[in-house]
Amino acid sequence: MNEPILEIKNITAGYNGTRIIENINLTVYENDFLGIIGPNGGGKSTLLKVIVGLLKPEKGEVIFKKKSRFGYLPQFTLNDSKFPITVKNVVLSGLVSEKKVFQKFSQEDHDKAEKILNEFGLLQYKDSPFGELSGGQIQRTFLCRAIVSDPDILFLDEPTAFTDKDFSKNLFKTLLDINSDTTIIMVTHETGIISSYVKNIACINRTLHYHPGNEITEEIIDKFSCPVEIITHGKFPHRVLMMHKDGK
């Protein structure tokens, strides 16, 4: 059994007094590939924000069992980013937590950034202004930023939004590669895509239910309105579950 890397205890959180998630308890183990699924507004992104420290919970705590490096791919928003920064600098910003305040980026850091840009077919844009990239290229650049530091835990918030099938394939290939050293926590509503890659599933709709492996019962689906229709899991036989009664 792997060691726990992250423990979430009794988290209740929301915005401006409106509670989005309540009494969430979850332990994540090293090298897990956890998919967090749930309906829109169910609190998937909110939970992720609490874990990475962007949102202070009303109560409860998030405990990291050891000092961990984070990688985070935020939910994609199409913004008018005319900010004057090059694509390579965006990726380098993923290494900033490893640098001392006055320390400059080394040649090794630059090589690392270029290597990862190359893997995602972005090397030719390394000196281009970030604002000139397409939506899919922006998402890929942010993914490069998230994994350039070889994080211990990688958080992904709807990674496949705004991208094409090629990207998804490349993404999951990369994720499976790094999963041997990296714990991955991914929020998504596209269960069809993730289901063959994740090891465990947590379902969140205000409260959370953890599904070790792919043991999902109809009762759980009813109770949590998990948007799970098909669970396929690696080499295991596919499981086809019933549609939700409310059609969600």
Binding site: V52, G53, L54, F70, Y72, P74, K82, F83, P84, I85, T86, N89, V90, L92, S93, G94, V96, S97, K99, V101, F102, K104, F105, D127, P129, G131, E132, R145
Partner: protein
């Protein structure tokens, strides 16, 4: 032509314009990139309250304006982040309140405020030695900040949320930078005045952004464009006998138009 260089006041004016171009070029690149132009203008206008206070209590108005500028910079940030008031509305309130405070103090000060218009519209030919020293300190601070904390400034301005996750001291950097904006604009108020100083923070930078989208190059080009247009403005002001602040603004805009036309012609 060479004659005017022998005037001490003109030498001082040239030096002041050079120093202002350096500090405003650097800080303005941050202001334009992070889109905090309006907040900067709010700070400048609210520092007018300090100018009025300086007149009223009889100290150098730049010193009291510095205090007002920095406090209103913090005030705008604080109220808009904690007070549940939207930032642009907060800026509007601080801007008007600062100007109103200045007007009341000046009204209450006995006698006529002799160089009030130099604070409002700028008069680079009236700069004093202490103005030069303050402006030089501000230029040095801006240079130091951008060289030493380049990655912190760039990354927090680009993506605050990610900077937070990277355990960067985002609040500290934001407050320090906005304080630096306040200091830079206030010490250079004699160049273009409360009303026009925003031009030094925005026009050379916007011109630079026509040419490059790299932050470090924008900083360098903004300083160069600032120097060229403020020098040109200074000479125009001297020979045509018009206010320096206004002639510098015109030079900056003409420079913007020329560069834009060149790019248009080349492409």
């Amino acid at each position: 032509m060479t004659d005017i260089f022998s005037y001490v006041f003109f030498q001082k004016a040239l030096l002041a314009a050079l120093l202002a171009s350096i500090s405003c070029g650097i800080i303005g690149s941050y202001v334009v990139s992070k889109r905090v132009v309006f907040i900067s203008d709010g700070i400048i206008h609210s520092s007018f309250g300090g100018i009025g206070l300086g007149y009223f209590i009889g100290v150098n108005p730049i010193v009291t304006a510095l205090i007002f500028g920095v406090l209103s910079a913090f005030g705008i940030r604080f109220v808009s982040s904690k007070g549940n008031v939207r930032e642009d509305s907060t800026i509007g309130i601080f801007l008007a309140l600062g100007m109103a405070t200045g007007i009341i103090f000046i009204y209450l000060t006995p006698g006529y405020a002799p160089d009030l218009s130099s604070y409002l519209f700028g008069n680079i030919l009236t700069v004093t030695n202490s103005d030069i020293i303050m402006s030089a300190s501000a230029s040095f601070s801006a240079l130091f900040a951008i060289i030493v904390f380049y990655k912190q400034i760039l990354f927090t301005a680009f993506d605050e949320q990610y900077a937070r996750i990277q355990k960067m001291r985002v609040e500290l950097i934001n407050y320090s930078m906005i304080a630096l904006v306040a200091v830079v604009v206030v010490v250079n108020i004699r160049i273009a005045g409360v009303i026009l100083i925003i031009s030094l923070l925005t026009i050379p930078q916007t011109t630079a952004m026509l040419i490059t989208r790299k932050f470090d190059k924008i900083v360098i080009l903004s300083v160069i464009f600032g120097i060229i247009s403020s020098m040109a403005g200074l000479f125009i002001s001297f020979y045509l006998n018009i206010p320096s602040g206004a002639s510098i603004v015109f030079s900056e805009v003409v420079m913007f138009i020329i560069i834009r036309l060149i790019i248009y012609a080349v492409k």
